[in-house]
Symmetry: D2
Subunit: 353 residues, 4 copies
């Protein structure tokens, strides 16, 4: 079978690197071109030496006339604002587009602006006409729409973790929708490749901190998805924390239990909700989970717990922020958009320790 | 002035080591004897080589007849169950006792048993007659009682962090007392010196996890102290997490705001509540705090935040679990019990990075 | 094609886990049975939860009568002394054996005893009759012998790194053979799965140390292999160091240059020596290498440098100690012994960061 | 007694911060002014929040007219090139100067240029007239000269570790001077405060690498000091490595033993050489040392070992690169220059873990 030809815009960042790692092991896809505004002219394997012999393509500038026009899929592993400008031309050429940023996570300009405000972005969306057709790229909730679209807004890493942890509880009316608190902890790789004081090894290796308290931009998409599931507007409390490890998001999620819920019925509701989802694994309170078991994989492990003294559901939801939280979801979406097995190139256990 | 003569029972653990480090720099105290059941006969500086030249005392067995009887203060840096057996004889000899475990944190056998059940301890308390006289060793809440007692139950590390983060909010009626959620993150040193699979470097360096969900034993003392402050029974939700760093507890605390509270009035209430407390520092939302700034020090930094969208107070409370959460509080209590300046031997900034 | 049926003895350690990870992705092999003396009766995926859904076999006792007899390959991922007792019966049943320990790295009892003395082992070898037939499992030096044997002694992790870093220099007469110093640095995973004080996270995360100075047991096999290549006895100085990371060995190797060597001729000699070796990559001084680029892979990267002021060759040789230094070499040896492509199941780039 | 008034130029870097930490606990000194070209106008305790309440001085620009002129000591915690311009005016005002950079480590322009070339510095020295009067600030070798000078060139961190590890062996003719190899490992804090790709947490936490092989600038001062001790020119091989920890240098030093040396005589020679030196501790092979035992302290621990098979002395020399390797030596030099006890403000054991 002809392989899916993939172009990666923003190849030099961690998100691009993650896609390359997955696609070099993907039996049905091949990387056709790598594009970035930095490191143009250098082989990607000089920037990421572990790719030597696996992908030695030279990075092209976005303006390079030799970028092939016949790509099947284009990944925009780029910051907010890039994909919304360049996606239309790729879609016109017949490519399917997966954008990692918030550019295509919302279906109307008004909602997008609410999001954009949080990240300090004041420009209007460049391609508002595409927004109604874009699909939110969380396969567990939008599989059929993703299969039919040619434009996916890949979800935010925190959003993947929190939405998957909460979806059954909200959809099945297990908790009070106004009581939700998400206390999220992320490894440092979520901040990307560029060195900054907060991620400088000596300043980070032995510290943790909360940040953007009540102000993180991923809150918007979490609330939008939960509201869809609940059939009413939901507002949540969300606090992200930076933790001195590389890969992993652990979200501890609290919600007020509605009457008549037992741990048994809740576990069943979760398992039933995710029964088609190969990358979501549900565990009871006797099987506590750790973030390292997700490292390098596309899985989301969800642990269900009750606090009977205070009548709370406590869900612990874990992913690798760079895989299920980014490049892995992108490949999963590509697979769906291209009509091949959703798990292709993604089914491996990772390594321990 | 004659120096306070201190004996440390359980000298070989991290809690004992922490006390030694502080006391070697304490102008008004001297270490008279080190006792432990392990490593008997070895100089402490062989076990902790950084102490070479600062404290080279040889560890004595608890049965050693040469343990001096004229100690002014005895630290029990020992697990639950040790201090409650040996404390009475030291008190009879005239010593003041600070016990690190839960043995003397509660004032009646019934409450103690609730705590003991959580740690799997089924024996009755060995010295129930002492319980009514013991004082909970959190100086910020019990300074005057500590000054007058000869028996202190040093608080649990999570409890220090959560109680200090919540006390003003509960005492000043800022939040709904039944809405409290404490999401706590701790470094690995809190688990002590003994190697276990969960703390093995390869299994820990790149992972995080929630544990003892709704079942941690420190909940009891947190609820007891908050209930005292509120004048009514308070139940909280508490989830501890293990984080791959060495020292530090960061507790993110959520509570439903009562009417009419602004960030300004709350900050003022916190500052006012702690106006006598040299080791508590209160910060507004514009000064986010990190755990490393507490490392090696006796400080507790508290950051006050509001989520106006969901009407929540979000407090971030940070300590070094081995200092303010353990040995530092013990020395602070010793200073108070002996009538010297509470901050003696404890006023240094730590090191960065 | 019929898949190679593999049994793993000692499945519960890091070496067994590493083999399982590689074999679940190996298109030509399947895991038939897992054996260990600990955790008998538990699914391996309870011990290593990342294997859930990939390998859920239950661990069998070595005495279990249901261990299948028709294995094609048996891995002894066991400590010294285990394989030498059990290997003969498996060989009699027609299985090929790869032993991870030092049991079959030497071809006569006398040499073995020199090694055994270093690890404090005083018993005689249980199967001295097998020693002449065993092959040292470093494919880059013994490929053809491995293809023909049914018994391989998998090399020690430090030995892989040092021998590969030195082999061309010794074979091609580039350095004075009596001048060799190997200064090796290893991640903590090399110490295995069992928690010990030196590997306890708080005691390790911020420390490094030399150990077994001039006394490490891997020195024997390094000297034996180098002596073979040189055609004369070689003695080396070797110092291992423990470093606070999980995976990786970096060996810095110093040797006195013989006359007339330039960086260019030395690089050519190295490239020529390894021209058939897919897992060895040679780099010049302008391409410094880091251990993380080997993580999770079977590669050995070798960086060649000269110090012209002191007339020294300085080679930096890097591997992942658990892959090329252990399970990866074992699978590579299995591939050779079974007549399939040496790289099967081993060709992936790893992940970064 | 009047306190020594200290000004710190370059206060905002790790070297400045280290001096502030030490001086806030120094009974005989006080910080009079903090100067930097960055963060001017901000309190130092905003940049380093752990200093809150200990040092809240506002950073002044070097051009600020309110910098007091009556300083007793000025620390230049600045990069190469700064101190050599500004030191003369401070010396004219009567201040004593300690410069952290290479600016005053050499006594003539020619030698300085050899050093400067290595760091890519092409300008001539700004104050060549001062070079003959500057003293190399390693108290263990130059105590009396430091006492008498008003200008000290504080030594490089690697140099402190290697020179202290080698001085007795070279001075007492224990090893062949032309055989010396120093394999040094450093924590990341040695690279300073500015974030760079190589020190970005995700790119560093699980990696190690050799760098500047045979080309590190500290080689010059090591060779100069060893040559002085030997009475003849010595050239060494030196390889630095970056290790994923924060504080610590461990240098493993190899030298060919001269005839008739036993471990006993060598240990005695080392102890005798350092008998006046409170910050150097010598250990035999039975007391292996780890870098964490030096963390936060001014000590250098030296472990002496022999490899009898290859006739080598193997010395392991350990320091905290930011204390004995930088700010601690600076304070030690200040104490000597000001005629007070060399150990003032420096005698504490650090913390563990």
């Amino acid at each position: 079978m002809k392989k899916i030809r993939v172009g990666i815009i923003g190849a030099g960042g961690y998100g691009g690197c993650g896609a390359i790692e997955l696609l070099t092991n993907h039996p049905g896809a091949e990387i056709a071109v790598l594009v970035d505004t930095q490191e143009v002219g250098r082989p990607i394997s000089e920037i990421y030496p572990h790719l030597t012999g696996f992908c030695d393509l030279v990075i092209k500038s976005p303006e390079d006339p030799h970028i092939p026009a016949d790509l099947d899929v284009v990944f925009f592993a780029t910051p907010d604002g890039v994909g919304q400008k360049a996606a239309p031309s790729w879609i016109q050429k017949g490519a399917k587009v997966v954008d990692y940023s918030g550019d295509f996570r919302f279906n109307d300009p008004g909602t997008y602006e609410g999001y954009a405000f949080r990240i300090g972005r004041t420009q209007q969306h460049s391609s508002p006409e595409l927004l109604p057709y874009s699909v939110y790229g969380l396969a567990e909730l939008h599989r059929e729409e993703i299969r039919k679209t040619n434009l996916v807004g890949n979800p935010g890493c925190f959003a993947v973790s929190c939405i998957l942890g909460l979806a059954p509880a909200v959809a099945e009316n297990i908790i009070e929708p106004d009581s939700i608190i998400c206390d999220a902890k992320t490894g440092v790789s979520g901040a990307g490749k560029n060195p900054k004081p907060a991620w400088h090894f000596p300043a980070r290796y032995e510290t943790m901190n909360a940040y953007k308290i009540s102000g993180h931009q991923h809150v918007f998409e979490i609330e939008r998805e939960l509201s869809r599931l609940a059939g009413r507007a939901i507002t949540i409390t969300f606090t992200p924390h930076a933790i001195p490890l590389c890969r992993g998001i652990l979200s501890t999620i609290y919600g007020e239990l509605k009457n008549g819920q037992s741990i048994k019925t809740i576990e069943e509701a979760y398992r039933s909700f995710y029964k088609e989802d190969r990358f979501v694994r549900v565990f009871g309170p006797d099987k506590p989970q750790m973030s390292i078991y997700m490292r390098g994989t596309n899985f989301c492990n969800i642990s269900i717990n009750l606090d009977e003294r205070t009548n709370k559901l406590i869900v612990v939801s874990l992913i690798d922020n760079l895989v299920k939280g980014q490049a892995g979801s992108a490949v999963q979406n590509m697979n769906l958009m291209c009509g091949i097995d959703e798990t292709e190139g993604l089914m491996h256990p990772g390594i321990f320790p």
